[in-house]
Amino acid sequence: MNTTEDTTRRPSQLFRNLNAKVASIPMIMTALLVFLGGTVWTIVYSFTNSKLLPRLKFVGLDQYERLWSASRWWTSIENLLVYGVLSLIFSLVIGFLLAALLDQKIRFEGLFRTIFLYPFALSFVVTGLTWQWILNPDFGVQHIVRSLGWESFVFNPLYDQRIVIYGILIAGLWQGTGLVMCLMLAGLRGIDEDIWKAARVDGIPTWKTYLFIVIPMMRPVFITTLVIIASGIVRLYDLVVAQTSGGPGGASEVPAKYVYDYMFLAQNLGQGFAASTMMLLSVAIIVVPWAYLEFGGKKRG
């Protein structure tokens, strides 16, 4: 065999799929420069005492000490936890229930779906304003119930420190469950029709089929949904500002607002960076291992 003699060398790996690499430059730049770079930059400056402008005057852990001794920061974290856990649970449960109802081959499905989904088209600012208005004790629900004769009725979540976060939750759920429903509906539609038939032949009641068979099968949908809800929760800001501005008495403060206020209002970038580093850290602890498992090591699909 003389063909074996002309050994062509393996070409450089760098230039294989060159076009794909070139096309990915925006993504690579975004990932490295903006997300990674921005994160590193933020972490570095969180150890400085930068005020209005970033400056490299390092002060060690001062910013963190101050952060963790600030009662507002603690309130913010508490609020985010309460809001986050409840919002996750409720939007998943409500979203799934609505999807399950819509999946019963009902009439006017399109109409109902549109109604449940439309709030998602509205910004948090609009959502916040509207709900502020409905929950306003002087005009809104409380006023209406009182004018119906129940004088002692009290429902003013936005003006009561203890429950203000639930007032925000109501608006948040109103805005977000539509999308969750949509994702769940898509997931339900992806379930093999035969599974349903098998369950019916086995005599398994519908609710049991959902609970023990269908929901476990929808793992990927739940994961996508979780990413979307969770990333929204961490960034919770607009809604709070529009509805309560963190009030009353700072009872509805959230971490993102803490970051914003310290960076720009208090003109204490260092403090803001320290707070955002803590947020990033907690996100990273939860998200990075998951994201790596989900998108990193796995093969195609």
Binding site: D194, K197, A198, R200, G203, I204, P205, F212, I213
Partner: protein, 365 residues
């Protein structure tokens, strides 16, 4: 025959999806312990019929009786049926044991009774070692076995199979086919089995119902369907490679019927005509590849010399593609006698084995 011998009886069943009529007032009686195969091309309504029997689809008209009971309006679980699906439809998050026992648990059966039934089923299907695995950890064949087990464990009268093997590869398919056959011999339940694989149909069935667009064309034992198809559609559908069809006409010369085509002439003296008897007219002559002999030296009612165009060895047999007159002819010979491409060979066959169809209606003559 009394009603007690009948397991499933379908009366005048119709089903429409909107304006589309999928089943057209269909009647069918299945004997107790019978293995009935529904055979037909894709979209002819096999799955729909099965779903109606199972109660998974609401019929538009007609009745369904199982074991003499009118179950037309009953829930699937109360009909005494078990069903096995093409896609297995196993509950993916449960172990095999969970899959088998879930229905029983839901029905509120006692724990030890469930355990006993699961053990018995696992024993019958030889899936004991798999009981604690998840479906994703099983091979296709094992999955299908579990799916059968799920029907088995419920101790039902009637088994419904919807193309249970078509997701498997050829080797597994033939293995599981035998297993299902054995199972039937052992349990003696009624089984209704949908497929569009004729080998499955031929090997498994006590009777085959060949369907076409929502109607049953022929309901008979496999050999009858194979050798005496009621029309050209059934003849064409059964057998691989398919029956050879030769277009021509029946003439009655001196009262003796003959089939004329492309200047050739087949005597039909041996052919068993239908009640109506032989009549002249355009017709199609059908003969199966294995009924054509090659260079046999024997004396056949009809013989001719034909060219060999393609030779397809298939292991024990070989297919020879040739031409009779101007029309294609496939011949199946045992591999030892396979001719070579380009040769001319003498073929012969007996019209007794052939089928003759009306050219217009396609009905058997």
């Amino acid at each position: 025959m009394g009603n007690d011998g009948v397991s499933v009886s379908i009366r005048n069943l119709s089903l429409n999806f909107g304006a589309v009529s999928v089943l057209k007032s269909l009647d069918l009686d299945i004997q107790d312990g019978e293995f009935l195969v529904l055979l037909g091309p894709s979209g002819c309504g096999k799955s729909t019929l099965l779903n109606c029997i199972a109660g998974l689809m609401d019929v538009t008209d007609g009745q369904i009786h199982i074991k003499g009971r009118n179950v037309t309006w009953e829930e699937p679980k109360d009909r005494g049926i078990g069903m096995v699906f093409q896609s297995y439809a196993l509950y993916p998050q449960m172990s095999v044991r969970g899959n088998l026992s879930f229905g029983l648990k839901t029905a509120g059966m006692a724990k030890d009774e469930i355990a006993k039934r699961v053990a018995r089923t696992a024993d019958v299907l030889q899936i004991e070692p798999l009981l604690d695995r998840k479906p994703s950890q099983l091979s296709g064949g094992q999955r299908q076995r579990v799916a059968i087990g799920r029907a088995l464990v419920r101790d039902v009268d009637v088994f419904l199979f919807d193309e249970p093997l078509s997701n498997l590869d050829a080797k597994l398919r033939s293995e599981l086919r035998v297993e299902i056959k054995r199972l039937h011999q052992k349990l003696a339940n009624t089984m209704i089995y949908v497929t569009h694989d004729q080998i499955e149909a031929m090997t498994l069935a006590d009777r085959i119902a060949v369907m076409r667009s929502g109607q049953i064309q022929q309901l008979d034992a496999p050999q009858t369907i194979y050798s005496r198809p009621v029309n050209r559609y059934v003849a064409d559908f059964i057998g691989s490679p398919g029956m050879n069809f030769i277009e021509g006409e029946v003439v009655l010369s001196d009262g003796a019927p003959r089939f004329r085509f492309d200047g050739l002439d087949i005597p039909l003296a041996n052919y068993q005509f239908d009640k109506a008897g032989a009549q002249a007219g355009q017709a199609t002559f059908g003969i199966r590849p294995e009924h054509v002999a090659v260079n046999s030296g024997d004396d056949w009612p009809f013989s001719a010399s034909v060219p060999v165009e393609i030779v397809e060895p298939m292991g024990s047999d070989t297919l020879v593609w040739s031409r009779l007159g101007k029309q294609a002819l496939t011949i199946r010979v045992s591999s030892e006698r396979a001719p070579r491409v380009g040769e001319n060979v003498t073929i012969g066959f007996d019209p007794m084995n052939a089928s003759l169809f009306d050219a217009a209606s396609g009905d058997r003559l």
